[in-house]
Amino acid sequence: MMLWIRNIKIHLVRIERLAKDARKKVLDMLKKGGIKGDPEKFLNTYLQFFIIDPVRDEPTNLMRRLEHLLNIRQRRFKLGLKQVLPSLGEFTRANLEIMIEAARALDIIYRLVRHYLMLGEKTNNWILIMQLELEMPQIVKLAETYHKALDAFKEGKPIGDGIGPLVAATLMNSGGSAVKREVVEDTIVGVVERKNRKLYVIKAKGPGGTVGKPGEAVKKVIEELKDKVSRIIMIDAALKLEGEKTGEVIEGVGAAIGDPGPEKFKIESVAMEHNIPLDSIIIKESLEEAITPMRKEISDAVEKVIEKIDKALEERTKEGDVVIVVGVGNSIGIAQ
């Protein structure tokens, strides 16, 4: 047990160093942006900011209650940043927001590992210590991934998760520029003709780091078009299994979106209500590849995804049909 504790402590020092470095990077960005007031105090408020899960024993309106809480949290973050950094550009502020999220994730990992280590030592619980020791390599890898992601967020580089918005941006700008508008907060819809079909392409507003509200956008577009939509095609990055190839493109059905629930629920509900088939195309990548700068193998998948969309349009829709294409993911470093 002594050896396990010693080993966990060595790893904990490494995680602490990563968490401190992440904190320093965010503080530097806040100072560089000309923050009003004490940056340390501001960051401390948001690093330990919490959200209380809605009651799950009573499922009535669960998704709406969760969405309400998530919206409040997002607005608090946005407003807080706007108040202390009014002169900073909208996109830089969005990037700073996700930098704080990454620093927060590292802080949570550090505090949790420390908690279980101290608890195991205090209660002499060797099972707890053994479990922690066995999980340490994966925990350290996760912490390193979040730390690597910080640099991408700081410099505004597209990340692996941005493959959905990248496909959407490519579609919006293929064969002339599409007519674009902000359909809901932080979410853009562009109308473009392709294969004699009318495509409503949805993506998060870039080049700032945001995921937008794709579910709400799909719902609004369908309500505007009143039963004219014949198909929904969703594109998203998905976690690959070890041994699988990065950038592999595969097809399926269902809402391809990895949100906490409300956006996925909205898409499924509206598709079911209007009886619209829901196709999905996913691009395989690891968690590390999803939150660090986009690898070339992932970027090269854009053409393969567009080929699959064209094939779906030809085989599963008719000329003149209206189709919604949703590029799900973080649009950092990707405009429209």
Binding site: E155, G156, K157, P158, L166, T292, V302, G333
Partner: protein, 89 residues
């Protein structure tokens, strides 16, 4: 062969196994550490298809208007930004 000689041989074999596995672990750890990536920006002219690749600069984003195309003089745009593996020296 006496029992003591047998145990010495066994110990020597075990020691040899431990040393080789230690060396293998160190070599593999070095191999994974050396894997480094570099971010590149691909600029493309939508009209004539001219492409140019350069290192990523802060402020770059996909679809950002860039310089004039040297072939057809239309404004080029950033087409892709991606990480490429830096070849091992």
């Amino acid at each position: 062969m006496q029992i003591s000689e047998f145990y010495t041989l066994l110990l020597l074999m075990l020691l040899l196994f431990l040393i080789t596995s230690l060396i293998r672990t160190i070599i593999e750890r070095k191999k994974t550490k050396k894997e480094q990536y570099k971010t590149r920006t691909l600029i493309k002219c939508a009209k004539c298809g001219y492409t140019e690749e350069r290192d990523f600069q802060i402020g770059d984003y996909v679809l950002k208007p860039e310089k004039e195309c040297p072939k057809c003089k239309t404004i080029t745009r950033i087409h892709r930004i991606y990480d490429v593996k830096v070849p091992k020296k």
